[in-house]
Subunit: 406 residues, 2 copies
């Protein structure tokens, strides 16, 4: 959590960190600025000291809501630097040099945030070469933000509980909406006899999300039959829902206010399930329960990915352990942390070296995929680990496979 | 436009470009992949050749909708590289090396997209040092994508016209919504006597945007009195609207389907305007009309920023030309291009070296700001330049200052 940042900096030998860039999709900037509604900014934090936020003058009032100490770019003579340098790039870099000088930033400085990679390469090379007092670095894996994000403080847990409760409500309302249709020649139709399409369902979901102050930042998955068999296929807008259809519905909205995500998936068969789908569902539920029942603080996350592979392989499925890159069977990792990012630490892959710890919030989402047999099954709950090491599901919505139609 | 990419690469001496990273807020990746719904990807384009898109296997079907030639990371042995390298970072870099080898990418390669800046620095340093056949570079200003974005092809213009029409409709509906309230002791109240707040208006706007398939990616500005005087203040949710209030309403949604933005601002006074607001409005309209009437293909964009400064200075206002960093008077630049980004080329600042060209779509948005006098005024239309050099407003909604209440 955020209070770990100084320890995480010390572990890595960083004297200061800089978080920069535009705000959209900039998780570390949002994290450091407490989700202030700025369009871009620079946060500078020296080890053991409070962070400072630097923004354009037009954004000073929104920036102040971060609770950080705020300075404007004009305070560090941005316009003068641009004029002297003759271009925006070097003017901005010189201003950053002045910021470092003013606050006595020296030693190893690690950079985070969002940038165009080529631009970042040029910027950081410039700083590394032109400023004698600092050594520029960056992180490539398990960055200090990844580690900080992996555990949540009480306020973050509350924010996630809020979005989780509302997401479960939208899931329930959507199933009711689908059930509000009737069968006609094997197709689901509304009062007016018009067929129910994937686009209709998504429109309904969007309106319900909005009513709770949630937004769909990526795009929800409501994928039917073959599409359900490809984990990241979103669903075809024009697909009409029919009896026997197999649907993977993966809903992962975030709060417009707090920026926190919840993530859940249910698989539904309309009216009845084909025998192979029913069997896959039971096997997915077996893996799901085996994982949930054995969650334990201190255990490696890779243990649970391997446990899931064990179960699926025993049932004769290919897995990414036996067949890396397979597009049938169990084709992904078991779960991931959620927070201000939809995918964060801890990662539940075979490569992960993390362990389960109090404060984590993560998904558990085993699945089986057979696109050529026109189905996929995935069941996903989000779970948080309380300070006392107990596990709590954030996803109470039932896991029934069948949505009954007469 | 996109068909300029080979020319723009040649101008810069680039043998290949690479666009990479997560898809959220990744304008260049969305541009190159025609807004395909992938969560991340790598596009490699050699000079004079068609681009290739590389994604994770789970996203192959969504990736195919880009119309590009699609390969999966497994095709380039990602899992084997990770295993051999012993870590994800180097495994991914080795895979990219294999991609370059397979497609014969050599010479100067420039990188784009989105990444954590520190990570990008480490990645590009690795590629530069480990791959003998390529020289890694990036761009810092007026990148080839900035230049390509600055002009739109016919399909892009159509997409922007669509979102523009719908945004104008939401603006009109919102004014009707506000007018649907009545005055009670100087406050706007609904049928039930409850005061109308900024949050109520924003909720109404969100629902209307959604009904047109638009989303509010940043956050609309509906800022009252002092907040209206600070250009990027978003408005306080709890503020109750009252007679005489001065409101800056800046609406810049994007289409969920196409990703294109429209951007418009109106300033409203409820019932009546204070004399100083009325005067500022007239001066802003004078600058607005002077710019619109003198738009001309081939002219430098900086000319129009200077023209605006001339007019405001003549009326005794500070401008960022006379007082760089001023927080009163005219405190920003005149406009910016719009497209898949809300801010792109051409830029209408005093530093810009661009000229007006057919195919551009940009905002014209003069404003005057006096936070301590509790008001700001900004009027903004978006304009496109047709192939024949004629100028067309995308923002027909009236510019009346007063919303009448009896």
């Amino acid at each position: 959590m955020k209070s770990d940042l100084d320890r995480l900096m010390a572990d890595r030998g960083f004297d200061a960190i800089v978080v920069m860039g535009e705000a959209e999709a900039n998780h570390s900037l949002k994290y450091m600025t407490n989700h202030a509604k700025i369009t871009q900014g620079i946060v500078v934090k020296k080890h053991g000291e409070a962070p400072i936020l630097i923004v354009g003058g037009m954004e000073r009032d929104e920036a102040a809501k971060s609770g950080l100490s705020v300075r404007t770019m004009t305070d560090f003579h941005l316009y003068q630097h641009i004029k002297e340098a003759g271009n925006l790039f070097e003017g901005n870099m010189r201003m950053l040099g002045e910021v470092f000088g003013t606050f006595g930033v020296s030693g190893t400085v690690s950079f985070y945030g969002i940038d165009d990679p080529g631009t970042a390469f040029m910027r950081l090379k410039w700083l590394d070469e032109m400023l004698d007092s600092i050594i520029v670095t960056g992180e490539t894996e398990n960055t200090l933000f990844d580690e900080a994000y992996a555990t949540k403080d009480a306020a973050e847990i509350e924010a996630i509980k809020q979005v989780a409760g509302d997401t479960n409500r939208v899931m329930a309302e959507t199933v009711d909406f689908i059930r509000g249709h009737r069968l006609q020649d094997g197709a689901l139709v509304g009062e007016d006899g018009a067929p129910l399409t994937v686009a209709d369902v998504k429109r309904y979901v969007d309106a319900r999300l909005l009513s709770y102050g949630l937004e769909d930042s990526g795009e929800k998955i409501f994928a039917v039959n073959r599409d359900a068999g490809v984990p990241h296929s979103r669903g075809e807008a024009g697909d009409e829902l029919r009896l026997n259809d197999c649907i993977v519905f993966d809903l992962f909205p975030r709060s417009i206010t707090t920026g926190y995500f919840h993530d859940m998936t249910r698989t539904f068969c309309l009216g009845r399930a084909r025998p192979e789908v029913q069997r896959a569902y039971e096997q997915v539920m077996q893996a799901f329960s085996a994982v949930m029942d054995s969650l334990e603080v201190g255990k490696e996350t890779s243990f649970y990915q391997n446990l899931t592979c064990d179960i699926f392989e025993e049932h004769g499925h290919k897995t990414i352990r036996t067949d890396p890159g397979t597009e049938e069977g169990y084709v992904h990792s078991l779960g991931h942390g959620i927070g201000l990012q939809i995918h964060s630490n801890p990662r539940f892959s075979a490569y992960s070296k993390e362990t389960i710890q109090p404060g984590q919030v993560f998904t558990v989402e085993p699945g089986l995929y057979y696109p050529d047999q026109r189905y996929g099954v995935r069941i996903e709950d989000s779970v948080y680990v309380a300070a006392d090491g107990t596990f709590h599901s954030l996803t109470p919505y039932p896991k029934d496979l069948i949505i009954p139609f007469d």
